[in-house]
Symmetry: C2
Subunit: 248 residues, 2 copies
């Protein structure tokens, strides 16, 4: 009900086609054969544009579809009654959103665009239907869900067992690796999120994030200029995680 209001003029009704999409290698179709991918075209009905700061969905919205990001960046977060917010993930091109909704048939978190973005809308009932026929789709979908679970465990490790600088190092290396997978530079990129959002994701205050950035810069590991990041010494960042407290 509220959903409509969040996509005022921006909803687009363009027919999309996985078989024509250059995100094949990153997105749901990965690992499927040509025939299977052609059948996917039945599935992905429409695209939807979401402007920066707008919600793709909100906690509580009825669950109807999952989304594949074509262009842009999102964050997902959960909010406690008292207003405390926890960012649960940052999603980029080729990644999936909305899997949390299957369990209760309502979304359990918010998904907000960090920049003007566009997603493919995958009607969930159709996805189930088609994945009963197309083995490759079924398998790939299960992998996507499982990967999300594994990712979440990684975040738990980060939040539960690592110190501030280790968390940020892990975060930067993770971003770098995801950019690489998309053919972008591993060493130089723009952050789409604020220090506050990074902090929420990493279980830190924004000041702590900022200080860690500065420290990394002083130590020659990175160059920071606002949201622009250059990774100068990825190996040193990796070591930081493996050998938590430098020399102790």
């Amino acid at each position: 009900m509220q959903m409509k209001a969040t996509v005022p003029i921006t909803a687009a009704d363009i027919k999309s086609a996985c078989s024509q999409c250059n995100l094949l290698e990153l997105c749901l179709p990965f690992g499927m054969n040509e025939h299977e991918i052609n059948r996917l075209d039945e599935l992905v009905g429409t695209r939807r544009k979401v402007k920066r700061q707008q919600h793709l969905y909100r906690a509580g919205d009825p669950f109807e579809a999952i989304y594949a990001i074509r262009i842009g960046w999102f964050k997902t977060d959960v909010v406690l009654e008292d207003g405390r917010e926890q960012v649960t993930g940052f999603q980029m091109t080729g990644e999936m959103l909305g899997l949390d909704g299957i369990s209760t048939e309502a979304h359990s978190c918010n998904a907000v665009a960090l920049e003007d973005s566009e997603v493919c809308v995958i009607a969930y009932d159709k996805l189930e239907e088609l994945s009963r026929e197309v083995e490759g789709l079924q398998h790939q979908f299960h992998k996507v869900m499982s990967r999300e679970i594994v990712r979440d465990h990684g975040v738990m490790m980060l939040l539960g067992s690592m110190r501030a600088e280790e968390r940020l190092a892990a975060f930067l290396l993770n971003l770098s690796q995801r950019f690489t997978a998309r053919g972008f530079s591993a060493a130089e990129f723009h952050l789409r999120m604020t220090r506050d959002e990074i902090g929420s994701y990493l279980g830190l205050k924004l000041e702590t994030v900022s200080r860690a950035f500065s420290r990394f810069q002083d130590d020659g590991m990175i160059a920071v200029q606002q949201k622009h990041i250059r990774i100068l010494d990825p190996e040193k960042l990796r070591k930081l995680i493996q050998h938590p407290v430098a020399v102790r």
Copy 2:
């Protein structure tokens, strides 16, 4: 390969049947109709006993099956190269284990029995096969995976945004609720895990867990005697989470 070694004499080869199982309401079959559940019996081939402290699977083991807990308790954890351990969950009767393995076809965490336990072994290839035919199974399986994702987000909230006592309160209330769902007392139960394991799960040191228990007891919210817990004032525990810092 290593797997075999971890189930020495305990592996049982008893034919099990979901349709005869009293965990119907809690386990994978939940929400399926009678006909569908009968077909499930094809799926759950064997049971396996796992003694306390033994691994059901280890990170790196090839993924072949998921597991439904019939009897007992498990923990799952991930371990960093430097030995730091993060408990990612505690699983009890009727809950699923092994979903993390689908994504890479190898398990990404360890599953260890906290007491002598027994699981139903669900061969994954058969599960995919059958869930292409049985709509209710497919849907239910997706819900189980999605529920795990939602649960993980809750843990992230806990680790990223809550203080020590809030984390422990949330943990106790969660246990209480899961016991209730199984027909056990909501107010009185035995913990199967040590303070250290609770601490790992909650991102705290064991001393902090112990102190929080003591404080809850002093405040009349619970009665603790080693692993035996009685919840005396669940409402006060809930309030603790909703109104984080008492009077501020």
